[in-house]
Amino acid sequence: MQNAAKDFQAALLHKARWRPWEFAVWLVAFALPLLVPSHSLMVNEIAIVALFAMSLDLILGYAGIVSLGHAAFFGFGAYAAALFAKLVMPDPTVGLAVATLLSAALGAVASVTILRGSDLTRLMVTLGTALLLLELANKLDWLTGGADGLQGVVMGPVLGLFEFDLFGRTAAWYSLSVVLILFLLMRRIVHSPFGATLKAIRDNRLRAMAIGIPVASRLVTIYTLAAAVAGAAGALLAQTTGFASLDVLAFDRSADVLLMLVIGGVGWLYGGIAGALVFKLLQDWLSAVTPQYWMFWIGLILVLLVLVGRDRLFKPWTWFGRRA
């Protein structure tokens, strides 16, 4: 009996252990602004959307909540950070913390909407929340600048030491550091017993309830957390570009992040990173070829992805076999 318990524990801990390639990924990520200085802005952008995708993964991949409005928190964080820098103080780290906390609060409020109902109901309320915020940002033009966007955001140096430069090198390192810290936090959470209960809820809510998991409070917690991380990603975007506009809240952004996560694979934090990387590179390449019709290719990718099967995309040898 004792041994069996130990075996299970060992197996679970084995999953949570750091692999050598993980260190390599992060080393390469941090070296990129040095290796390809001209693409620092791109690195920055990829780091931010990767963080955003990972935050969606927390609720979609680990808790099974289908959301079409995750951009609500991203956009809220972006506006919060931009307004904080403009109206209160220009220090980026304080602004980031404030924006993250505010997004978490919004997530906690919004989490009551996703506790009940079917997938359709959840789709609708998440989508509704994002649209509500978009409408709000559009109408409160004395505060947010409305359709013109919030301009004139000037950021102070990071930690009082590193000024943001034109080439985005500081921005890239700043974003990467924040992403790494939050990634470590999320990695710890999803491998903890708390994370295991989330997966139990995702796989079978009724059964999870029956073995005594407090489903509602777990969902509220993870939704709040995901909102906070998404808000941090939004704040990073606003701080490093010095700009916030309505498109941070738009439906396209929610759909894009869903696509990224699905390309990379759900229920796996690196899925967000891989998806963001593939998506941004694809976008870069395709918009260079056909700038206007990028949407068509995105649609085609989505359709093919689902027809082939999400889990089989990176396993080409299973494409033509019999379906399981």
Binding site: R116, S118, L120, L131, E135, M295, V303, L307
Partner: protein, 290 residues
Amino acid sequence: MLTILFDGIAYGMLLFVLAVGLAVTLGLMNFINLAHGAFAMAGGYLTVFAMQKLGLPFLACLPLAFIVVGLAGALLERTLYRPMYAKPHLDQVLFSIGLAFMAVASIDYFVGSSQQNVQLPEWLRGRTEIGDGALLLGMGHYRIFIIAVCAVLTVVLQLILSKTRFGSRLRAAVDDPRVAAGLGINVNVVFLATFAVGSGLAGLGGALGAEILGLDPTFPLKYMIYFLIVVSVGGTSSITGPLAAALLLGIADVAGKYFIPKMGAFTVYLLMIAILLWRPQGLFTRKGGR
């Protein structure tokens, strides 16, 4: 006052015709089809081109939109949609968003992103006013026409669903596809026909609504949320539910935009979230929580 109510009813009726196909798809196969608006857009563009290029009269274009879009729907159902039924909701959402994106970009490519106009015939352009003062009722002839067409359609649909053999098969398949199949009902054929009629109705709605809703390539995304509101608030177990929800939404939207224009669509979204918090399965539904 009455004019706003009237416009709201016309708008709601239009939304109902546009969304009823979606309600049936969702109720029958539990399939979330976010590309439903693309069928409506197809109907709208078809009408515009049939009238401009072929010189067909407006009235001839409406059945044409219904039939062509219905056939296209049947084709797509058979080839693309059917494998999706058994998949999880996430896959369905991704797949149908993908289709909607492709439709938007293709129309943009082939037609251009500018707004298209439908040339209404002379007899639909006028406006009749009854009463005066606060009770003034101004009725655009086109809106009267829309209400009439949609009311007839609603009655016909209700009769088909409740009186005909096909209707009872459909209801049986909605309630429990497996048992219905066990009783010898060919659920796939029932669904193919329903999907075709549903997309045909969307096409018809798009043709009718091109004048009121506006027609440009972003139509499927712009109105997707409205169709979904109708379906999720109305519930999918009957067609009276979506009808009531569509009328409610139409009146609320028109009145909201008239009385508090600063709020815009804000009222509608807030109302939807509140209703769904209160009754997650929709306002008019027999089913309990599932």
